[in-house]
Symmetry: C2
Subunit: 100 residues, 2 copies
Protein backbone atom coordinates (compact mmCIF):
# COMPACT_ATOMS: atom_id res chain seq x y z
CA UNK A 1 0.00 0.00 0.00
CA UNK A 2 2.13 2.89 -1.23
CA UNK A 3 -0.55 5.38 -2.31
CA UNK A 4 -3.13 6.74 0.04
CA UNK A 5 -5.34 8.08 -2.73
CA UNK A 6 -5.79 6.06 -5.91
CA UNK A 7 -8.29 6.92 -8.59
CA UNK A 8 -9.87 4.24 -10.69
CA UNK A 9 -11.80 4.94 -13.88
CA UNK A 10 -15.17 6.06 -12.59
CA UNK A 11 -14.42 5.45 -9.02
CA UNK A 12 -12.77 7.41 -6.25
CA UNK A 13 -11.01 5.06 -3.84
CA UNK A 14 -8.86 5.70 -0.77
CA UNK A 15 -6.74 2.81 0.58
CA UNK A 16 -6.07 3.07 4.31
CA UNK A 17 -2.58 2.24 5.59
CA UNK A 18 -0.10 3.42 8.23
CA UNK A 19 0.23 7.09 7.22
CA UNK A 20 -0.94 9.87 9.58
CA UNK A 21 -4.67 9.74 10.20
CA UNK A 22 -5.45 13.19 8.82
CA UNK A 23 -3.79 12.41 5.46
CA UNK A 24 -6.60 9.97 4.75
CA UNK A 25 -9.36 12.20 6.09
CA UNK A 26 -8.10 15.05 3.91
CA UNK A 27 -7.82 12.66 0.96
CA UNK A 28 -11.47 11.63 1.31
CA UNK A 29 -12.74 15.17 1.89
CA UNK A 30 -10.78 16.55 -1.09
CA UNK A 31 -12.26 13.97 -3.46
CA UNK A 32 -15.69 15.34 -2.64
CA UNK A 33 -14.80 19.03 -2.50
CA UNK A 34 -12.16 19.62 -5.20
CA UNK A 35 -12.75 16.61 -7.46
CA UNK A 36 -16.56 16.62 -7.40
CA UNK A 37 -16.77 12.93 -6.56
CA UNK A 38 -20.31 11.66 -5.93
CA UNK A 39 -19.00 8.62 -4.11
CA UNK A 40 -15.73 7.76 -2.39
CA UNK A 41 -14.86 4.18 -1.41
CA UNK A 42 -12.64 3.74 1.66
CA UNK A 43 -10.86 0.38 1.58
CA UNK A 44 -8.74 -1.37 4.21
CA UNK A 45 -7.42 -4.80 5.20
CA UNK A 46 -6.58 -6.44 8.53
CA UNK A 47 -5.69 -4.15 11.41
CA UNK A 48 -6.36 -1.05 9.30
CA UNK A 49 -10.11 -1.81 9.28
CA UNK A 50 -10.64 0.08 12.58
CA UNK A 51 -8.87 3.10 11.07
CA UNK A 52 -11.00 2.96 7.94
CA UNK A 53 -14.13 3.19 10.10
CA UNK A 54 -12.63 6.11 12.08
CA UNK A 55 -11.77 7.91 8.85
CA UNK A 56 -15.24 7.33 7.37
CA UNK A 57 -16.85 8.65 10.56
CA UNK A 58 -14.63 11.74 10.91
CA UNK A 59 -14.87 12.63 7.21
CA UNK A 60 -18.64 12.24 7.01
CA UNK A 61 -19.65 13.59 10.43
CA UNK A 62 -17.09 16.27 11.23
CA UNK A 63 -15.94 17.56 7.84
CA UNK A 64 -18.81 16.83 5.44
CA UNK A 65 -21.74 16.89 7.84
CA UNK A 66 -25.08 17.42 6.09
CA UNK A 67 -23.62 16.72 2.65
CA UNK A 68 -22.09 13.20 2.80
CA UNK A 69 -23.24 9.98 4.49
CA UNK A 70 -22.34 6.28 4.63
CA UNK A 71 -24.09 4.59 1.69
CA UNK A 72 -22.81 1.03 1.89
CA UNK A 73 -20.45 -1.17 3.91
CA UNK A 74 -19.07 -4.50 2.72
CA UNK A 75 -16.79 -6.94 4.53
CA UNK A 76 -14.99 -9.89 2.98
CA UNK A 77 -11.93 -12.14 3.34
CA UNK A 78 -8.90 -12.65 1.13
CA UNK A 79 -6.84 -15.81 1.25
CA UNK A 80 -3.22 -15.88 0.18
CA UNK A 81 0.00 -17.79 0.71
CA UNK A 82 2.59 -16.16 2.97
CA UNK A 83 6.40 -16.39 2.62
CA UNK A 84 6.47 -19.75 4.44
CA UNK A 85 3.91 -21.18 2.02
CA UNK A 86 1.19 -21.14 4.64
CA UNK A 87 -2.40 -20.26 3.76
CA UNK A 88 -3.38 -16.99 5.46
CA UNK A 89 -6.76 -15.27 5.71
CA UNK A 90 -7.18 -11.50 6.02
CA UNK A 91 -10.41 -9.55 6.42
CA UNK A 92 -11.25 -6.55 4.23
CA UNK A 93 -13.72 -3.67 4.44
CA UNK A 94 -15.12 -1.23 1.90
CA UNK A 95 -17.05 1.78 3.20
CA UNK A 96 -18.81 3.80 0.49
CA UNK A 97 -19.50 7.45 1.32
CA UNK A 98 -21.90 9.29 -0.97
CA UNK A 99 -23.42 12.74 -1.40
CA UNK A 100 -26.79 13.05 0.28
CA UNK B 1 -16.34 -4.91 28.54
CA UNK B 2 -16.35 -7.78 30.94
CA UNK B 3 -18.72 -10.22 29.20
CA UNK B 4 -18.01 -11.61 25.79
CA UNK B 5 -21.53 -12.92 25.28
CA UNK B 6 -24.50 -10.88 26.46
CA UNK B 7 -28.04 -11.76 25.64
CA UNK B 8 -30.67 -9.10 25.35
CA UNK B 9 -34.38 -9.79 25.33
CA UNK B 10 -35.02 -10.90 21.78
CA UNK B 11 -31.54 -10.35 20.60
CA UNK B 12 -28.31 -12.32 20.64
CA UNK B 13 -25.36 -9.95 20.96
CA UNK B 14 -21.62 -10.59 21.28
CA UNK B 15 -19.40 -7.71 22.45
CA UNK B 16 -15.82 -7.97 21.17
CA UNK B 17 -12.96 -7.17 23.57
CA UNK B 18 -9.44 -8.35 24.38
CA UNK B 19 -10.14 -12.03 25.18
CA UNK B 20 -8.71 -14.80 22.98
CA UNK B 21 -10.03 -14.67 19.42
CA UNK B 22 -11.62 -18.12 19.43
CA UNK B 23 -13.69 -17.33 22.56
CA UNK B 24 -15.72 -14.89 20.49
CA UNK B 25 -15.95 -17.11 17.42
CA UNK B 26 -17.21 -19.96 19.60
CA UNK B 27 -19.62 -17.57 21.32
CA UNK B 28 -21.14 -16.54 17.99
CA UNK B 29 -21.28 -20.07 16.58
CA UNK B 30 -22.88 -21.46 19.77
CA UNK B 31 -25.66 -18.86 19.67
CA UNK B 32 -26.68 -20.23 16.29
CA UNK B 33 -26.13 -23.91 16.98
CA UNK B 34 -27.14 -24.51 20.62
CA UNK B 35 -29.38 -21.49 21.25
CA UNK B 36 -31.23 -21.49 17.93
CA UNK B 37 -30.61 -17.79 17.31
CA UNK B 38 -31.82 -16.53 13.95
CA UNK B 39 -29.58 -13.49 14.17
CA UNK B 40 -26.46 -12.63 16.15
CA UNK B 41 -25.16 -9.05 16.41
CA UNK B 42 -21.39 -8.62 16.79
CA UNK B 43 -20.57 -5.26 18.39
CA UNK B 44 -17.22 -3.52 18.91
CA UNK B 45 -15.70 -0.11 19.58
CA UNK B 46 -12.40 1.54 18.62
CA UNK B 47 -9.45 -0.77 17.97
CA UNK B 48 -11.64 -3.88 18.43
CA UNK B 49 -13.52 -3.10 15.20
CA UNK B 50 -10.95 -4.99 13.08
CA UNK B 51 -11.37 -8.02 15.37
CA UNK B 52 -15.15 -7.86 15.09
CA UNK B 53 -14.83 -8.09 11.30
CA UNK B 54 -12.38 -11.02 11.59
CA UNK B 55 -14.75 -12.83 13.95
CA UNK B 56 -17.76 -12.23 11.69
CA UNK B 57 -15.81 -13.55 8.69
CA UNK B 58 -14.41 -16.64 10.43
CA UNK B 59 -17.73 -17.54 12.08
CA UNK B 60 -19.79 -17.14 8.90
CA UNK B 61 -17.32 -18.48 6.32
CA UNK B 62 -15.38 -21.18 8.14
CA UNK B 63 -17.74 -22.49 10.83
CA UNK B 64 -21.23 -21.73 9.54
CA UNK B 65 -20.64 -21.77 5.81
CA UNK B 66 -23.81 -22.30 3.78
CA UNK B 67 -26.06 -21.59 6.77
CA UNK B 68 -25.15 -18.08 8.03
CA UNK B 69 -24.27 -14.85 6.20
CA UNK B 70 -23.68 -11.15 6.91
CA UNK B 71 -27.09 -9.45 6.86
CA UNK B 72 -26.28 -5.90 7.88
CA UNK B 73 -23.35 -3.70 8.91
CA UNK B 74 -23.68 -0.36 10.70
CA UNK B 75 -20.97 2.06 11.77
CA UNK B 76 -21.40 5.00 14.11
CA UNK B 77 -19.55 7.23 16.60
CA UNK B 78 -19.96 7.75 20.32
CA UNK B 79 -18.80 10.91 22.07
CA UNK B 80 -17.94 10.93 25.73
CA UNK B 81 -15.87 12.88 28.26
CA UNK B 82 -12.62 11.24 29.38
CA UNK B 83 -11.03 11.48 32.85
CA UNK B 84 -9.39 14.81 31.98
CA UNK B 85 -12.78 16.26 31.00
CA UNK B 86 -11.85 16.24 27.32
CA UNK B 87 -14.42 15.35 24.65
CA UNK B 88 -13.42 12.06 22.93
CA UNK B 89 -14.91 10.36 19.88
CA UNK B 90 -14.85 6.59 19.37
CA UNK B 91 -16.13 4.64 16.36
CA UNK B 92 -18.46 1.65 16.73
CA UNK B 93 -19.51 -1.21 14.48
CA UNK B 94 -22.43 -3.65 14.53
CA UNK B 95 -22.26 -6.66 12.22
CA UNK B 96 -25.49 -8.68 12.04
CA UNK B 97 -25.13 -12.33 11.03
CA UNK B 98 -28.30 -14.15 10.09
CA UNK B 99 -29.45 -17.59 9.00
CA UNK B 100 -29.68 -17.90 5.23
Amino acid sequence: MTDNVKKQDNNHTVFIGPKPFMNYVTGVVMQFTTQSANEVVIKARGKFISRAVDIAEVASKRFLENSVAVKDIKIDSEEFENKEGKQVRVSTIEVTLGKK
